[in-house]
């Protein structure tokens, strides 16, 4: 769809301080009115983008809907799995999102894009490959620390079913990595010494943050709703990719299963938290073909581009 044919809209983007949101806003600001919201801080934006620091669960959040004629919401703001406590994550990610949906209903918002995660599928030894969108979400069964991710999805699905006019699209991307990304995987690939479980090197998929930004914009601007995996048709074993990124592998004993969890707890690695250990043991391979077909989306960055970025990042740090 060409930019000239798209009717300008007022779009509220949550999590505006994140690297993905910045890229999404940069893509949208030429043809839409963008409003930036972040609960952490007031994000510095271009002059034409109003920016707010507000918690989604606070009453003040509704003022943004009163003051601006919001047509669409791109909900990227969430507390990552490596941040804060489980309870804080639940309050902000689940209860905050419920409030966002309620306000979207109240103010007749016509499109909502929700950024979910592949973590919702859970890393299980019996996971088939690929996982289609209809696969059961086992994350909360495997660890309480991912309950908020599954609950957020359940909530979005309830609203998707209850209010079709919201046109909710839920995106479940694989590992998003690349410049500025601060999630656990990106931090891990940035390390010189990265932990891995001895005898386990699961197949993984990686998505460049620029490609994910394109996917979010496509999901917002093109017609459609539903739940979609977002992943490239390219795969690599975890330890092979670590080496490609110039990381040295730090092997951790994998048996008994509690031992690597204890080690990760003791070491306090935010990039390798104990409740994500199974994702370094068993594969979670997504089928991203439905999204690619429905939204005519193709990733532009290859695994080699991604590994080249992390290699050069390390060399830049070493030179400095």
């Amino acid at each position: 769809m060409s930019a000239s044919r798209i009717k300008p809209k007022t779009i509220l983007v949550t999590g505006a301080g994140g690297s993905l949101a910045r890229r999404v806003m940069a893509r949208l600001m030429d043809r839409h009115q963008v409003i930036a919201v972040d609960f952490r801080r007031k994000v510095q934006t271009d002059a034409q983008i109003p920016s707010y620091q507000v918690d989604l669960s606070k009453r003040r959040f509704e003022d943004i809907f009163r003051d601006h004629p919001i047509d669409g919401v791109i909900h990227l703001g969430r507390i990552l799995t490596n941040e804060y406590s489980r309870f804080r994550r639940y309050n902000d990610n689940v209860l905050g999102t419920r409030r966002l949906f309620d306000l979207a209903e109240k103010y007749n918002v016509g499109k909502v894009v929700v950024h979910s995660t592949h973590f919702v599928y859970g890393a299980d030894a019996y996971n088939p490959a690929p996982l289609y969108e209809t696969a059961p979400l086992k994350a909360s069964e495997l660890t309480m620390d991912l309950v908020d991710a599954v609950e957020l999805e359940n909530l979005a699905q309830i609203y998707l079913w209850r209010n079709p006019k919201l046109h909710i699209t839920i995106l479940r991307p694989c590992n998003i990595v690349g410049p500025g990304v601060r999630n656990s995987m990106s931090r891990l690939l940035s390390r010189r010494l990265a932990p891995a479980l001895l005898g386990f090197s699961p197949i993984m998929q990686f998505l460049h943050v620029e490609d994910m930004a394109d996917a979010v914009v496509a999901a917002f601007e093109r017609r459609g709703k539903g739940i979609f995996n977002v992943a490239p048709n390219d795969w690599v074993a975890y330890q092979d990719f670590l080496r490609a990124c110039d990381c040295r592998v730090l092997p951790l004993p994998s048996l008994p299963p509690a031992l690597p969890r204890r080690i990760a707890e003791r070491m306090g690695w935010s990039s390798f938290p104990p409740y994500l250990i199974n994702f370094f043991k068993y594969p979670v391979v997504l089928d991203g073909n439905s999204f690619a077909k429905a939204y005519r989306w193709t990733p532009q960055y290859s695994l080699s581009d991604i590994s080249a970025y992390y290699r050069s990042k390390k060399h830049r740090t070493a030179d400095a």
């Binding site: 088939p128 005898g199 690599v236 092979d240």
Partner: protein, 272 residues
């Protein structure tokens, strides 16, 4: 990784490189597919399994011409011998088939991915957990799949039940019908004698999370193995009830029984 590279340099010859590189496979930019198959591991395992095939089990094969050189196919053999050596030997025969080599994809038991090194290694050479989603997706990728419908009932059976087909699961037939896939029956003779089990130490197996612990030799014996590959069977996807499946499964079992019988009749000695 360094060890596997060192090993590969020493044991993978030009012929193996050529065989694996010629296999029709769609791989990602790092040489992996979604199930973990990769050429380096496949080459390494073909070198090792090829030696066992030629020198230890001295495998004889008949009926290779029945394996389609391209397109989806389901190889359905009898299962025996405690270890999945029957699948490995059939895989070597399929990969080396001069008429049209195929990358064998074996459906394996669910406990394999939980075993360090072994799970990844088996994925690397093409084996995948026997899940209907995996199997269906692979058939849509036009893969050649090895399925043991007897599962551990076949591999873990004790000596006095040798060459008796155990109960077949029905999943393979549903998948073959749904994905319009020919079933190639295979009778494997000799693997029963590689690891005869005189009893199953179930009380010991359960706490260790193993499907069985055989009471028998600790290492496989060098019995001579023969593979008898039958003509493809095709089934329309027109069963309305579960009880319509049973005669079709019986037809597959009957073909496998015939192939086993032929192998036993041709065999002159267990170990020669």
């Amino acid at each position: 990784m360094a060890i596997s590279r060192w090993l590969a340099d020493r044991i993978v010859g030009a012929e193996i490189h050529d065989t694996i590189d010629r296999l029709p496979k769609v791989l990602g930019s790092f040489g992996f597919d979604p199930w973990g198959y990769n050429r380096s591991t496949a080459k390494l395992s073909l070198a090792g399994a090829g030696w066992l095939f030629d020198h230890y089990f001295r495998v004889r094969v008949e009926g290779l011409e029945h394996i389609p050189p391209t397109g989806r196919v389901m190889m359905v053999p009898n299962h025996s011998g405690q270890l999945p050596l029957d699948g490995v030997m059939l895989g070597v025969a399929m990969a080396r088939n001069r008429a049209g080599p195929r990358a064998p994809r074996a459906m394996i038991e669910r406990f394999f991915p939980t075993v360090p090194f072994l799970g990844n290694f088996m994925n690397g050479l093409g084996a995948v957990v026997g899940d209907p989603v995996n199997c269906g997706a692979m058939l849509e990728h036009e893969e050649a799949i090895i399925v043991f419908p007897e599962g551990i009932r076949g591999s873990g059976k004790v000596w006095h039940k040798r060459y008796q087909l155990q109960r077949f699961g029905t999943g393979f037939m549903h998948l073959a019908m749904r994905h319009r896939t020919p079933i190639v029956p295979v009778g494997i003779v000799g693997c029963e004698e590689t690891m005869p089990s005189f009893s199953d130490l179930k009380p010991l197996a359960r706490p260790l999370g193993l499907p069985y612990i055989p009471l028998g030799p600790l290492l496989p014996l060098p019995a001579r193995v023969s593979l008898h590959i039958g003509e493809p069977l095709r089934f329309d996807n027109d069963c309305e009830h579960e009880h319509d499946i049973a005669p079709r499964i019986e037809q597959v079992k009957s073909e496998i029984r015939k192939l086993i019988r032929r192998g036993l009749e041709q065999r002159q000695s267990i170990y020669r």
